[in-house]
Symmetry: C2
């Protein structure tokens, strides 16, 4: 089975990389863009029957930095 | 309105960063992990009524490298 993990910077944390992307897109003519924020996507292939809690444990231990990042897990 | 863009490496492209994450997780005891691949998540805040096609254009022009990456867009 597969799982997707989304790791995003917390709202209160500055995201200069996202700001650069946003500025670049507006320079390219995408004036409808208001804000851009960058995060990570981790696609995991795990043994069948792996629980969501187990994947959240992976996030807490390695994939996300809980001080500045939030994460969410989606099983597919 | 908000949109999420998922940028992933194409299947045929080697992903050393994902392999490193996978190895690290297995070292931490997550033996149920079979494979890990890393991608990018771009969260966009755009003007109401922006079409999906317009966001796909952003991907083609800046957010993804179509030679080695696939992308998908999700409007929320």
């Amino acid at each position: 089975m597969r799982a997707r993990v989304f790791v995003t910077l917390r709202k209160a944390v500055l995201d200069p990389q996202g700001q650069a992307v946003g500025q670049a897109l507006r320079t390219l003519g995408f004036s409808e863009l208001k804000d851009a924020r960058l995060g990570k996507l981790v696609e995991l292939e795990v043994a069948d029957g792996t629980s969501k809690a187990r994947i959240e444990e992976m996030c807490k231990k390695l994939l996300a930095n809980p001080v500045i990042e939030d994460f969410s897990v989606e099983l597919t």
